[in-house]
Structure formats: structure tokens, C-alpha cells
């Protein structure tokens, strides 16, 4: 998550000091991703090193203000304009890894895994939904963040539903795949052997 660009975007609005940046960042994103103030100062130091911000000195009350530079402004504009990259390979997804291993491991009850996960994720979804029910229409940014969490949780549950129906349909095929595993292991080991 780009704390760097988040802070830079806030400085593009007006000069601010560290505690202000932290408070503003958290209130604008619904306090979903808390920052510690050390992180803020480390990031500011790097932004200064890279010429994106410049210290403006104190205000007499011990607050060290930072202002954005032209280079910094250009960087913020670029950040807003460009899509957020999808990383390749995708980030490790523990659930996907767990299921992939579960369907090929002997004696694992896959349905129990998917159901336990579904219940767990639905509880989270209920939690987000309660927060959403309490929010007012004025909390637009907070609602957007909540909706993002809601749609992600929903996507995970839909994927679990999909996995179950796929497994039900392909029950026999899975068994076949399991029995052909030794062959694939051999191939993988050969490949590894050739690489080392």
C-alpha cells in the first residue's frame, strides 16, 4: 500500500506536518489502514531525499511543516493518472494455496474447509455491513473503502461457492488427477534437477 503516494497527495493540497498527515490520512481512508507516526516521518525523509517535498521549517509551536515540490506535484499527477499495477506473479493467496493443496492431499475434507472459510468471511461481511448501515451519506470516502472490503469479501465467498460446485462436478476427475500425481512429481523433480 502506497503510504508514500498517499502522503504526497495530501501535501499537494497544502503544507502539513507529520501528526497532521497521519490524522488526515486515517480520516480520509476511514482509519482502515492505521499509520504510525514513525512511518510518516520515515516516509517524509525519503520524499525529501528524492526531491518530492521540502521542509518549510517550524511554526513556532514545534511543528515541522513540509511542502510539495514541482517534481512532487508531477509524481502525484502521475500516480492518479496511472492504474494501480497488478503484481505478477500475484501476491500469495493463502486460501487459494490451502485449497489447491487440500484437493490433492489424501484424507482432507475440502467441503469442511470451504464451509469454515465461508462462515468466517461472512462474519466479516456482516461486520462491514453493520458499519455501513451506521455510516451516513456524507461519509463518502469511508463508504467507498467499506464497499471495497465488502465486495472483496463477497468475491471470496462467490469463489468458494464456485470451487464447491466445480469440485462436485469434477469429483471423479479430481481422483484421477491425484492418482496421476507421481508422474507430475517426477517431471517437476527432473526440471528442478536440471536447474541446479
Amino acid at each position: 500500500m502506497s503510504v508514500r503516494h498517499g502522503l504526497l497527495a495530501l501535501l499537494a493540497e497544502q503544507p502539513r506536518y507529520g501528526y497532521q498527515l497521519r490524522a488526515e490520512f486515517e480520516s480520509r481512508t476511514g482509519a482502515t489502514w492505521p499509520l504510525n507516526v514513525g512511518q510518516v516521518y520515515t516516509t517524509l525523509a525519503r520524499l525529501e531525499r528524492d526531491g518530492l517535498v521540502t521542509p518549510q521549517g517550524g511554526d513556532g509551536e514545534g511543528h515541522a511543516y513540509y511542502a510539495i515540490t514541482d517534481v512532487g506535484r508531477a509524481e502525484v499527477a502521475r500516480w492518479f493518472a496511472e492504474p494501480v499495477a497488478r503484481s505478477a506473479p500475484p501476491p500469495r493467496d493463502e486460501l487459494a494455496i490451502k485449497l489447491a493443496l487440500a484437493i490433492t492431499a489424501p484424507g482432507v475434507d475440502v467441503l469442511r474447509i470451504t464451509q469454515a472459510q465461508r462462515t468466517h468471511t461472512l462474519r466479516a461481511l456482516q461486520d462491514y455491513t453493520r458499519l455501513k448501515a451506521r455510516a451516513t451519506d456524507r461519509d463518502v470516502a469511508w463508504l467507498l473503502v467499506l464497499d471495497s472490503l465488502i465486495f472483496q469479501a463477497e468475491a471470496e465467498i462467490r469463489w468458494l461457492d464456485h470451487c464447491e460446485s466445480r469440485l462436485a462436478r469434477a469429483g471423479a476427475a479430481v481422483h484421477e488427477a491425484v492418482s496421476s500425481q507421481p508422474e507430475r512429481h517426477a517431471i517437476a523433480q527432473q526440471a528442478r534437477g536440471a536447474g541446479s
Binding site: G30, T119, L122, L125, Q126, Y128, T129, R130, I150, E154
Partner: protein
């Protein structure tokens, strides 16, 4: 809201429902027990064919259990005569179905007033209640429109007004958001939630997790059995502690 020791409005005890017999028998429900308290909204999820809709029709007295008993406000539905059952359906139970079943030849207000009139209220009294129910759903201005002259979301809200009119304390909803867009669908869920917060008991059948999440409790059906349950609200509150 639910008080300690409140009596369930819906109580289903070891419900079995079998269609057909012998080799060809289909076991839609195989021993389902469910309590829904006043103020509580329970969502029922599960793959198609898991028995969700059967559960709802038995809860509402539209279908009869093969064994086990469903009680609505303490009244065992299985032992009622057809006539008494019809009265419980009209007075205690409100239904919201995916297909709205609004009668096209009647205005919104007439549609909403219909169950009250069937129940013996005077036409004037029924209309007054219908107008109130529509106003509660922001449809006060559309009372004299015909369903064809209303948007899908407005029709759906009118169907909900009809389901909620009068002193009904059990609201049963089967995929109530149908083909509505996500914002309008959410408005329907908010409404259902609000009615339960005001003291009704609700059962919501849905395959959408995002909608089920408006419930206090989500139960999962599979092959006619409840296989899991999210538990009550108290257990679910922890995740975002500290966030607002």
C-alpha cells in the same frame, strides 16, 4: 430489538419435507430446526437444491412439513384447518418473492391494501393503511400508479409495502432483490433490516453473501440440513474494533 427470554416468532422443529415416495423420493429438508426472535433477521444461504425455498414456504404455511412442526407466534401450522391457516398467512406473515406478483390491473395502493381487505378491513381503512405503508417506503406520491408505470425498484418496494402492511410480525423474503441493481437492492435490504429492528422477525433466503450480511445470523443449508451458522451479532462484532 431482541430481549432476553423473548419468545420466537418463528419456531421450526425438526422439519422434514419429502417429495414423492420410495425410490423416487426427494428429501428437500431432512431435520431442520430454526428459531427467529422478534427483532431478528436470519439469512438462509445454500446452493440451489439445498432446501432454502422449501424452508421458507413451510415457515409461511404455504407448504406442509412431512414431519416436524412449524410454529408462528406459538401457533402450530400443521394442525390448522385450511381456513385458519389462511388467516395466519394473512395476519401474521408477509412474503416478498423474487417475482413481485403485483396485480397489474390494480394501483400500487390497491395492491398494498388487498391483504387487509381480504382480512376484513373496510376499504377505506385498508387504503389508509396502504398509503401509510407506501409513504414509509418513499412511495407516497405513487400510490395511484399502476405497476407498469413504476420502475423495477419502485415495484419491489410496493411489493414490500404489501408484505409488511398490517400487524404482521413475520416477514419472509425469497431473493427479494431479484434483478435490481446493487444500489436499489441495497435499499430493499436496508428496509427489511429496519422492519426487523422495529420488532418483526425476518427470514431472508438469498444466494448473495452481500445481502445475507445484513442479517443478524446466517445459516447455511446443504442437502436439506443446516450445516453451519455464523452465530449471533455478539460474536461477530470484533473484527473492526476501533474502526468507528
Amino acid at each position: 430489538m431482541t430481549g432476553p427470554g423473548a419468545q420466537p416468532i418463528l419456531r421450526m422443529v425438526d422439519i422434514h419435507r419429502t417429495h414423492g415416495r420410495g425410490e423416487a423420493a426427494v428429501h428437500a429438508l431432512r431435520g431442520v430446526s430454526l428459531h427467529v426472535l422478534p427483532g431478528e433477521l436470519v439469512a438462509v444461504m445454500g446452493p440451489s437444491g439445498s432446501g432454502k425455498s422449501t424452508l421458507l414456504t413451510i415457515a409461511g404455511g404455504l407448504d406442509t412439513a412431512t414431519s416436524g412442526e412449524a410454529f408462528v407466534e406459538g401457533v402450530p401450522l400443521g394442525s390448522l384447518s385450511g381456513r385458519d391457516l389462511a388467516r395466519v398467512r394473512r395476519r401474521s406473515v408477509g412474503y416478498v418473492f423474487q417475482d413481485l406478483n403485483l396485480i397489474p390491473a390494480l394501483t400500487a395502493a390497491e395492491n398494498v391494501a388487498l391483504p387487509r381487505e381480504l382480512d376484513g378491513a373496510s376499504a377505506r381503512q385498508a387504503r389508509r393503511e396502504a398509503i401509510d405503508a407506501l409513504a414509509e417506503l418513499d412511495l407516497g406520491d405513487l400510490a395511484d400508479r399502476f405497476p407498469d408505470d413504476m420502475s423495477g425498484g419502485q415495484q419491489q418496494r410496493a411489493a414490500i409495502a404489501r408484505a409488511l402492511i398490517g400487524p404482521r410480525r413475520l416477514v419472509l423474503a425469497d431473493e427479494p432483490t431479484g434483478a435490481l441493481d446493487s444500489e436499489t437492492g441495497e435499499a430493499v435490504l436496508r428496509l427489511l433490516r429496519a422492519r426487523c429492528d422495529a420488532g418483526a422477525a425476518g427470514v431472508l433466503v438469498t444466494h448473495e453473501a452481500r445481502h445475507a450480511a445484513w442479517a443478524d445470523r446466517v445459516v447455511f443449508l446443504r442437502d436439506g440440513l443446516i450445516v453451519d451458522d455464523t452465530g449471533g451479532q455478539a460474536e461477530a462484532e470484533s473484527l473492526l474494533e476501533g474502526m468507528r
